[in-house]
């Protein structure tokens, strides 16, 4: 048990010291990562990227029927 706690402690220290002693470029890319993830998940996903079938139909049976209908009436594609 003590050994596991020791390993866990070393692992946490690795993260803690790593972030604390991070060079300037590391801080910059972390800011970019946070901004990027915020834009992706808090803006794009919530406001623009709803799951089309989940938002339109309540259950998988209805979704299957809808897609089957789409397959039967599929329009042609140009190149």
């Amino acid at each position: 048990m003590n050994r596991i706690l020791l390993i866990l402690n070393r692992f946490i220290r690795l993260y803690y010291d790593g972030f604390r002693d991070m060079p300037n470029w590391g801080r910059k890319v972390w800011i970019i990562i946070i901004i990027k993830l915020f834009i992706m998940f808090a803006l794009l996903k919530i406001f623009f990227f709803h799951d089309f079938l989940k938002s339109k139909y309540d259950n998988d049976k209805q979704r299957s029927e809808y897609v089957r209908d789409q397959l039967i009436n599929s329009p042609a594609t140009h190149d």
Partner: protein
């Protein structure tokens, strides 16, 4: 057919997916290749104990870290698009796409949260050997993570190992190994990772050339050129070998794409491989489609027949063979495929009607048809042809397919030459004096990125009009959402990705100018 179908919705959805995939692919190949270069450099450090190798490894690891961090999660946007813009497709592919993507997500999460952290934060915290193991695991893990998405893409080029269930309107995986060891998947994985190795080698070579031009960090630059030169040369050969294997597989499973890659309209024996060519408008036609012809071409006689069929007398079918059919060569005409596709569609319509009338006997009987091997092999495999209006509509854009293929191959040979010359000059200890060569290498940095993107353009444009070869066309895959919404997100993505790319380039340039500090 769906009335008033808005084709601009299809085009904007395509454009958006192309934009995000192309931008995403700017970041990925460098991660795939540079991770192995780091592992090799660190191995030399651990083996020799020479601190200069540690310094070199840490410098390239900084650039790896910038690229890795900026590129991280850019692929998730593609998954957003699957659910929103391509819902019919996402539903139709079922667990075949879902399972590999889930494995990729889990692998990436564990990789990023453990070994990448040890690699960056663990230099003075863990033993040399443990650190080296982490670096190798990052390299292997990153490449294995790419395997799954490539398997999913390979299935779109050559769907195998599944049965369509009319009740759920989904394809269900019945043979996992057939999906994984699909010949297209094997070729695609090896060709893609080796092209990533090549790209990373050119990246290291180009930046090392800059140091030599500036007469800075000469030992680091020369040692980096040694590793990148050898790794790049071997990767170039692997790229050529796997590219040849890929082309041969395409000639069998996507013959229309293959004929378009070579702009081969009439099939022939002793077919030549076009080494260089320009296409021009012509008055030739296949059906109602005007075809382009060669304004100029340099051909290696018989080589296409040899590469695809093993000898120069092998017949290589042209686009006309695939559209009109060729009884002598046992090539089915597209109108026949359209009839078979319509038959399969008719069975699905019968199933749909039986469900509406709740005719249980009929429902079970039709389910049996979908499970029948003969129906799957001879009819359902042409399901997508039911929505083809004219046979010539199955021909992709020949100009884009031809040029992307030939430019990619031409660039591949240029890289081979650059790596060979770099090693030659290095072993003769002349590389620092060959400034003309160093400048060429420096300005060649964008070329492997272009080649890599051309490979994907060939893969995806060459498969048109299909999203899943022969089974589903692109229009049938698109969600019925507002075109304006797709245009808005297209612009948002263009701004976001351009911002990320500018950030990456500016942070990298700053770090390169700073040089190794450790």
């Amino acid at each position: 057919m769906i009335d008033n179908f808005d084709m601009s919705l299809v085009d904007w959805s395509r454009a958006q997916f192309a934009l995000t995939a192309i931008y995403h692919w700017i970041f990925v190949p460098l991660t795939l290749g540079l991770s192995f270069i780091l592992a090799i450099m660190e191995s030399i450090y651990v083996k020799t104990g020479n601190e200069e190798w540690k310094r070199i490894t840490r410098f390239w690891m900084t650039l790896f870290g910038i690229n890795f961090a900026i590129g991280i999660a850019t692929g998730i946007i593609l998954e957003f698009e699957f659910g929103t813009n391509w819902s019919n497709y996402s539903w139709f592919v079922g667990d075949i796409f879902g399972a590999p993507l889930a494995v990729e997500g889990i692998l990436a999460f564990f990789l990023e949260s453990t070994f990448v952290v040890v690699m960056f934060f663990g230099w003075s915290k863990v033993s040399k050997k443990f650190h080296l193991t982490s670096t190798w695991l990052v390299a292997v893990g990153a490449n294995l993570s790419a395997l799954w998405i490539l398997v999913a893409n390979a299935w779109m080029q050559h769907p195998v190992g599944m049965i369509f269930n009319p009740e759920t309107a989904r394809n269900e995986m019945v043979n996992f190994w057939a999906v994984i060891f699909n010949q297209v998947a094997v070729d695609k994985f090896l060709h893609t990772i080796s092209s990533g190795f090549l790209l990373a080698s050119m990246f290291v070579l180009s930046i090392s050339s800059w140091f030599l031009i500036r007469k800075r960090e000469q030992i680091m630059a020369k040692r980096s050129i040694l590793i990148a030169g050898i790794f790049g040369l071997l990767s170039s050969l692997l790229v050529a070998f796997t590219g040849d294997s890929s082309a041969r597989t395409i000639s069998q499973v996507q013959p229309v794409k293959f004929a378009s890659m070579e702009a081969l309209y009439e099939g022939k024996t002793n077919a030549g491989l076009v080494a260089f060519g320009f296409l021009k408008d012509s008055d030739k036609k296949i059906g109602s489609k005007t075809v382009k012809d060669f304004a100029i071409k340099i051909e290696i006689p018989g080589l296409l027949s040899v590469l695809t069929g093993g000898d120069k007398d092998a017949y290589v079918p042209g686009l006309k063979d695939h559209i009109d059919g060729n009884v002598e060569r046992k090539i089915m005409a597209t109108p026949e495929k359209m009839e078979r596709g319509k038959y399969a569609l008719g069975v699905l319509q019968l199933y749909s009607r039986a469900r509406m009338t709740k005719d249980k006997e009929q429902i079970e009987s039709i389910k049996g048809i979908f499970n029948d091997k003969d129906f799957q092999t001879n009819y359902f495999r042409y399901f997508g042809y039911a929505s083809v209006l004219s046979p010539e509509d199955v021909i992709p854009n020949v100009s884009v397919t031809f040029y992307s293929f030939h430019l990619m191959v031409m660039l591949g040979f240029i890289f081979l030459l650059i790596f060979a010359m770099a090693l030659y000059f290095l072993f003769r200890d002349e590389i620092a004096d060959k400034r003309w060569f160093l400048w060429i290498v420096l300005f060649s940095l964008p070329l492997p990125y272009i080649a890599s993107e051309l490979g994907w353009i060939l893969t995806e444009v060459g498969r048109q009009p299909w999203i899943i070869q022969d089974l589903m066309n692109v229009s049938g895959a698109v969600s019925q959402i507002k075109t304006g919404s797709v245009i808005t997100t297209f612009i948002l993505f263009a701004v976001l990705f351009t911002g990320l790319l500018i950030s990456e380039i500016s942070i990298m340039i700053k770090q390169i100018k700073t040089g190794p500090r450790h």
